[in-house]
C-alpha cells in the first residue's frame, strides 16, 4: 500500500492552494470556487448515499432547493441575516423534509428509488413554481447578503465580500463538512452502510436493518445538500425553482460519477472539474450540454470509476475467478 505520507502531502498542497486562491487569482475564478465549495458539501452528502450505501437519488435537488430557499426566506421575509442561523435552519428544514420522504423511499431500491425521489423532487418544483404568492414563482426570491460571524461586512462591495469573507466562510464550512463526513464513513455506521451497499440480504442476516440505515444515510445526505444549497444562494443573490428541477438532480449524479463515487474525495474532485469545465466550455462554445453529455456517456461506458477510478489500482485476484 502507498505510504500515508503521499496522500497527506497532496492534501496539504491542495489545502494551501485553496487558501491562497483569493490572494493570487483573478476575482472571476475566485467566485467560481464558491459554487464548487457549495456543491462540494452537497456531493459529500450525496456520495454517502450513493457510493457508500448504493442508492441513487434523482431528486436530490429537492434538498438543495430547501437549503437555498431557506436562506432566501429567512433573509427577505424574516429579516434573519446571520449565515450561521441560516445554515442551521437549512439543516433542520432538510431533516424535517427528509424524515418522511426518506422513510417512504428507502424501502425501494434501484430504479424505483430513483423514480420516487425524482417524483418528490418534481412535487417540490411544482409547488415552488405554482404557488407564486408564497415562493415568487418562476422568478424566485431574492437572497440578501448574509452576515458572516455577525458582521455585514458593509465596507466590502459585492465582489470583495464574495472573494474575501464569504470565500473563507464557505471554505470553513466545506472543511468542517469534510471532516465530519470522514468521521462518519470511518465509523461503525459507515461500515454498516457499506455492508448494505454490497449485499443487503447478507447485511440483514447479520442483524443490520437495511431500511433503517438507509434512512439515516438519506437524512444525513439531505442535510448536507441543504447546507450546500444555502451556500449556493448568496453569490447569485436569487433562488428560483430551476434549482429543484430533475435535471439539476441529474447533474449532481453526474458530478459524483465524474469525480469517482468509489473514493472519499472523488465527489469533491467531481464538483471542481464540473464547475470549471462547465465555465470553460460555456465561454468557448454555447452548447456545453452536448459536450457534457458526451463526457457523461464516455464516463459511463469507459470509466465508470470516474477520475479517481483512473488513479486507483484494482487488486489482483488470488485465484482466477470462475464466471
Amino acid at each position: 500500500m502507498n505510504s500515508p505520507v503521499k496522500p497527506a502531502l497532496i492534501l496539504a498542497a491542495v489545502g494551501a492552494a485553496v487558501i491562497l486562491v483569493p490572494l493570487a487569482a483573478p476575482p472571476y475564478y475566485v467566485t467560481l470556487m464558491l459554487p464548487f465549495m457549495a456543491y462540494g458539501v452537497v456531493l459529500l452528502g450525496f456520495n454517502l448515499l450513493f457510493g457508500y450505501t448504493g442508492l441513487v437519488s434523482f431528486g436530490h435537488a429537492l434538498f438543495i432547493g430547501i437549503g437555498a430557499y431557506t436562506g432566501a426566506v429567512l433573509t427577505t421575509r424574516f429579516g434573519i441575516r446571520h449565515m450561521e442561523v441560516i445554515l442551521l435552519a437549512a439543516a433542520v428544514a432538510a431533516a424535517v423534509a427528509a424524515a418522511p420522504v426518506g422513510a417512504l423511499c428507502v424501502r425501494y431500491v434501484k430504479i424505483y428509488f430513483g423514480m420516487l425521489t425524482l417524483a418528490f423532487g418534481m412535487v417540490f418544483y411544482t409547488f415552488l413554481l405554482k404557488f407564486y404568492r408564497l415562493t415568487g414563482g418562476d422568478e424566485g426570491m431574492r437572497m440578501l447578503r448574509p452576515y458572516l460571524l455577525g458582521s455585514e461586512w458593509a465596507g466590502f462591495n459585492k465582489t470583495a465580500y464574495l472573494v474575501g469573507p464569504y470565500y473563507y466562510f464557505s471554505l470553513a464550512v466545506l472543511v468542517v463538512a469534510t471532516l465530519l463526513m470522514w468521521r462518519i464513513v470511518s465509523s461503525p455506521f459507515g461500515l454498516c452502510l457499506r455492508t448494505i451497499r454490497d449485499n443487503p440480504l447478507k447485511a440483514e442476516s447479520l442483524g443490520i436493518g437495511v431500511s433503517r440505515y438507509r434512512w439515516h444515510a438519506f437524512m444525513i445526505s439531505a442535510v448536507y445538500a441543504a447546507v450546500g444549497g444555502a451556500l449556493l444562494a448568496p453569490p447569485i443573490g436569487n433562488v428560483d425553482p430551476t434549482l429543484v428541477y430533475w435535471t439539476h438532480s441529474g447533474n449532481v449524479v453526474f458530478m459524483v460519477l465524474l469525480g469517482g463515487f468509489a473514493s472519499f474525495f472523488g465527489p469533491l474532485l467531481g464538483a471542481f472539474v464540473f464547475i470549471f469545465l462547465q465555465d470553460t466550455v460555456m465561454s468557448v462554445f454555447p452548447y456545453w450540454r452536448l459536450v457534457f453529455g458526451a463526457v457523461l456517456a464516455f464516463l459511463v461506458i469507459c470509466a465508470p470509476g470516474g477520475l479517481m477510478g483512473l488513479f486507483a489500482r484494482r487488486p489482483v485476484p488470488l485465484e482466477p475467478e470462475r464466471g
Binding site: P188, F189, L206, P317
Partner: protein, 250 residues
Amino acid sequence: MILEAQDLRQRYGAYVALDGISLTIRENEFVSIIGPNGAGKSTLINVLTGALPPTEGRVRFKGRDIGGIGPVALTRLGMARSFQLVQIFPDLTVLETLEAAVVSRLGRGLRLFASLRGDRAMRAEALEVAELFGLATRAHVPARVLPQGDKKLLDVASAFTLRPEIILLDEPTSGVSTADKHAVMEILVAAARRIGLRSIIQVEHDMDIVFGYSDRIIALHQGRVLADATPDAIRADARVVDTVIGRGAR
C-alpha cells in the same frame, strides 16, 4: 433454548411446499436436515429463520413465536444462518466483514462519529474469529477476490461472529472439494465450541458429512418429515435409504 416447529404448512398458491412439519431442536444438538431436491428444505429453512411466515403452523424459538419476524429481529434473539449460495460483501475485506458482525452484535451500528479503526477490542475479536476459520492471513483481502472455499468460510464465520445460540447452516460444504469438506467441518465444529454455540442445524447433501457429525438426522420428503432419528436408526430405515440416501450408501 429450543427451536420448535409445530405443524408447519407453506403454500405457494396451489403448490404445497411444506405439508405439516413438526420438529424440535434441543440444546447441544447437531441436527442435519436431508432430503431430495423439492423436498421443501429451502422453504423450511426460510420459515425456521423467520424469513417466511408459515401459511399455517408455528415456529418458536426459546418459547417465542418467530414466524416471519425477519432476519434482523432473529439475530437479536440469538439465531443466525449461513447461505447455500455464498453471500459475502464483495468490496469489504475479511476483517471488515467480521467487524461488521461485531458492530451489529454490540448494537454500535448507529455510532456515527466513533472511530472504527480505534476500537481495538472489536478488531481483536474480528481477528480471533478470522483465526478460528483460517482466514487470518487474508484479513485485509477484499472478499470478492477470495477463493470460493474461503468465501464460504467467511459467510459462516461472519454468522458465527454474532455469537448466536443456534445457527442454521445451509449446505456449508457445497462447492467445497471433497478433500476439503472434512477440514471445513472440523473448523466449523471447533469454532462452534470456542464461541459457545449451543446447537447447529445444517442442511446437507453429502451423506459422509451428515453421518459423520450429526447427533440426529431429519429426513424430508415432499414437504413432510419422513424420519427423525439418530444416524444409526436412519441408516436402518429403508424408506429414507430409498428416497433420500440412495442404495449403496455406507
